[in-house]
């Protein structure tokens, strides 16, 4: 008797198709240089945010006033003039200080955690809601589709910043103050219609494709068709929109704070808040305090530097989004 027959088969090496696919996608992505640069910058931003979220003690900024106390052992007091960017006093002061002599560099780094985290949450919640509602409406059509689309029309017909402020004000009455939850919910409510429309439109084209018919022909029910066959195909367009929206939501989030909508309080480390408190200094000349000599006609760094950080992020994420669109489109990737 042949004993070999009963022995277990030798383990064949199994390749992982998911990993293979990811590697080809990444290769393509690296090839489109500018998108790759965008992605790297975005990743750096997210890395900083993540680091700060996990080890907040390195930056020591959870609240600007507490940081001041931590730095100088003093309570908050209005100082005469911010310090210009300098190498004296360690990396905290590399980008100068803003009101109350709060160092700008660590504040910006700390604010990324809140800015990126909130925008990610807003876009993810909005996209999830919008995709589910939009795909179902698009696939089933009829009255449901009509109702959903008219609701999104209502959302689109109101200027959304005004809508967001109104919504946030209402929500802040209900929800506990001192947190950014009200703004997050308000922006989510405003953001889902974009995804609902996008996925509805895509669902309309996809549902008439042959493979949905083929799935039906092999016994797939309508509900199964929506979630298994139509929705994953809608997602590639949604991913692109998702990455582009991340940039705009960060701007809107910061913008709301900038126009004086103090998300999470006056001392909340947040880019918009930093811009807000740095903004009056634009009109103030920078003096040598001992001699009274004018060194510069304006104190620019409290507003320009946080602004540049915001700008770089938005541009980077848009570049990445464009690249993603190219890579995710099977017709373009070849």
């Amino acid at each position: 008797m042949d004993a070999n027959v009963f022995a277990a088969k030798g383990g064949e090496k199994k390749r992982n198709p998911g990993l293979d696919n990811f590697i080809t996608t990444m290769k393509l992505f690296v090839k489109t240089r500018i998108a790759f640069v965008g992605m790297i910058i975005t990743l750096i931003y997210f890395l900083i945010a993540l680091l700060d979220a996990v080890y907040p003690q390195y930056l020591g900024v959870t609240n600007l006033s507490s940081m001041l106390a931590f730095l100088h052992g003093q309570s908050v007091s209005a100082s005469a003039q911010p310090i210009a960017p300098t190498t004296v006093g360690g990396w905290y002061y590399w980008l100068g200080t803003t009101e109350y002599n709060i160092p700008i560099f660590p504040s910006i780094l700390a604010s990324l955690k809140y800015d990126l985290g909130s925008s990610l949450l807003i876009v993810a919640l909005g996209a999830a809601t919008g995709v589910i509602i939009g795909t179902i409406a698009g696939y089933f059509g009829g009255l449901l589709d009509e109702i959903v689309m008219r609701i999104t029309d209502i959302f689109f017909s109101i200027p959304f910043l005004v809508f967001a402020i109104a919504m946030a004000v209402i929500l802040s009455r209900v929800l506990p103050s001192g947190s950014s939850i009200d703004v997050i919910i308000a922006l989510t409510i405003i953001w889902w219609p974009i995804y609902a429309r996008l996925s509805r439109g895509n669902a309309l084209t996809i549902k008439s494709l042959k493979f949905v018919e083929a799935a039906t022909a092999s016994g797939s029910s309508r509900m199964r068709n929506v979630f298994v066959h139509v929705m994953p195909n809608v997602l590639s367009a949604v991913f692109v929109q998702f990455s582009l929206d991340l940039g705009s939501i960060v701007q809107i989030f910061a913008g709301l704070d900038f126009i004086g909508f103090h998300i999470g309080g006056v001392f909340f480390p947040e880019l918009g808040n930093l811009l807000n408190i740095g903004q009056p200094y634009l009109a103030q000349p920078y003096l040598n305090l001992t001699t009274g000599q004018v060194l510069s006609s304006t104190i620019w760094w409290p507003i320009v530097i946080p602004g540049i950080f915001l700008l770089i992020f938005t541009v980077a994420i848009n570049l990445m989004g464009d690249g993603l669109r190219d890579v995710l489109d099977p017709k373009l990737r070849r």
Partner: protein
């Protein structure tokens, strides 16, 4: 008497019977009468070809048979389609009331509740009893799902109970059964039949990987008791430690659903016959079953979603194994690689094979092939045709083969139907269609095929039928072919000819051969 006897005999052999089918599309320009009073039947295990020019309703027929007509704008407005003696399109009058006010103003009142039930029943039949191979394999595959996943999907949609049974058998080794099987093998030792029996047994018991080893064992020179011991060891090695409780639960759940569907089908049957009493009785049974199911099902579905490893994994593994088998059945090179590829990574011919594997997933007795080779190059075409023909003999499933290529028809089919403008104008066994065609349209169709074997002289040019397929919003009166017909008579534009059997199995709808008029 004789005729009746023959009918009864045919009745048993018929798998698909289409009776007076009419499909219409209600568009803003008018009503497109895509199929008008079409009747044909397909017997078990036969390949029936459907030919005709583009736009004469072949594909609509295929979709109608699956009840896949997009609604709106289309609807089957009349007729019955029996698959295995069950009318799959249901009671049309109950499903929707169509109020035709004028050509462009049609109001359709759909009965949502009935349509929902109808769809539930249909999703049980589609893929299980009747499956379809589509025209363009590139478009008919979901681009974001792996090939294996798509085939597994249709396996899992229909064969859950079967899979559960074979998992349970594998995990609960029945010593008595394996012993008696060894004894049985001993009696037929060394024959072809033994190999076949082992193949069937291993599949039924969910241990296909052990097939080779069992063959080896049956051939070995051990004593019968030693063999029994060895067999037991083998089966023990195949055990995978699946949570059987989960499999049992899953089997119960799908049995319940199966039961519900059967009751629904029964009810539809009674309603069609206007049998109020029985319909009400079955309705009560359904309510009872539903009430019993609700609580159990919610807890099961939650567990199934949350504990995927225990509940779903064994089924996925088994489905994957069956998928691999199917892919090998359709002769795909490198099935192990293909199962994990995406559609865009494959060639047209391979995809069409995968499509066919998908259609065969739950061993349907009826396959619809809607121009399965049109999008492929010639060599691949030949391979695919060969494959379909082989599968037809291996799996014994009937095929409705739709094409406009007469050469393919000659190669593939036993019987042929010729369609023109939504009507069946002639149907006959394939030899008769090519040698003794009767209908002027069939004659024209045959004459327009280029042939290398006929001597080419100036008198014998390649002919074509003058004109084009008419606009089906306002089709010609009477015989729909009469404006293009060489043998036109006065009656042709007034009355519609009936499809009449002029010799055995040869039916023609033309006034040249019969005066019978079709009544509306």
């Amino acid at each position: 008497m004789l005729v009746e006897d023959k009918l009864v005999e045919n009745e048993e052999a018929v798998y698909l019977r289409v009776e007076n089918l009419s499909t219409k599309f209600f568009t803003s320009k008018g009503i497109v009468k895509a199929i008008d009073n079409l009747s044909f039947e397909i017997r078990k295990g036969e390949i029936f070809g459907l030919v005709g020019e583009s736009g004469c309703g072949k594909s609509v027929t295929a979709l109608s048979v699956m009840d896949l007509i997009q609604d709106p704008p289309g609807r089957i407005t009349h007729g019955k389609i029996y698959i295995d003696n069950f009318n799959i399109i249901g009671d049309l009058d109950r499903l929707a009331k169509i109020d035709v006010r004028s050509e462009t103003d049609v109001r359709i009142k759909r009965n949502k509740r009935m349509i929902k039930r109808h769809n539930e029943i249909l999703s049980k039949i589609r893929g299980d009893k009747i499956a379809m191979i589509f025209q363009e394999p590139f478009l008919a595959m979901n681009p974001v799902m792996r090939i294996g996943e798509q085939i597994s999907e249709s396996i899992l949609l229909h064969n859950r109970i079967d899979i559960a049974n074979s998992i349970i058998r594998r995990e609960n080794i029945d010593r008595g059964k394996s012993d008696s099987f060894i004894e049985y093998l001993e009696t037929i030792k060394g024959t072809e039949r033994a190999l076949k029996e082992i193949n069937v047994w291993t599949r039924e018991y969910g241990v296909p990987d052990a097939e080779l080893k069992i063959i080896e064992l049956s051939r070995s020179a051990l004593s019968i008791n030693e063999k029994k011991e060895k067999m037991y060891e083998l089966l023990l090695a195949e055990k995978r430690g699946v949570n059987l409780q989960a499999v049992f639960e899953e089997r119960e759940y799908f049995k319940d659903r199966e039961k519900l569907l059967e009751l629904n089908m029964e009810m539809t049957g009674y309603e069609e016959k206007n049998d109020e009493v029985n319909a009400r009785r079955v309705g009560e049974e359904i309510k009872e079953l539903r009430r019993g199911m609700t609580g159990r099902n919610i807890s099961f579905l939650l567990k199934q979603k949350l504990m995927k490893k225990q509940y779903e994994r064994p089924f996925l593994q088994e489905a994957r194994r069956r998928t691999l088998e199917l892919l090998k059945l359709v002769n795909i090179a490198g099935a192990e690689r293909v199962i994990d590829s995406y559609p865009h990574e494959m060639s047209g011919g391979m995809l069409q094979r995968a499509m066919i594997a998908m259609a065969l997933a739950s061993n349907p007795k009826m396959l619809i092939a809607d121009e399965p080779t049109t999008a492929l190059d010639v060599t691949t075409q030949a391979q695919i045709l060969e494959l379909i023909k082989n599968l037809n003999t291996v799996t014994d499933s009937a095929v409705l083969f739709i094409t406009h290529d007469l050469a393919v028809i000659a190669e593939m089919c036993q019987r042929v139907g010729v369609m023109y403008a939504g009507n069946l104008v002639e149907s006959a066994p394939v030899e008769i269609i090519f040698s003794n065609m009767k209908h002027p349209y069939t004659i024209g169709l045959m004459a327009s095929v280029p042939r290398a074997d006929k001597k080419r002289d100036k008198a014998m040019k390649l002919e074509s039928i003058p004109g084009a397929v008419p606009n089906l919003i306002s089709p010609p009166t009477g015989c729909r072919f009469h404006p293009r017909c060489k043998f036109k008579m006065d009656i042709c534009s007034e009355k519609k000819p009936k499809l009449v059997e002029i010799e055995k199995d040869h039916k023609v709808a033309c006034f040249l051969y019969s005066n019978e008029v079709e009544e509306n």
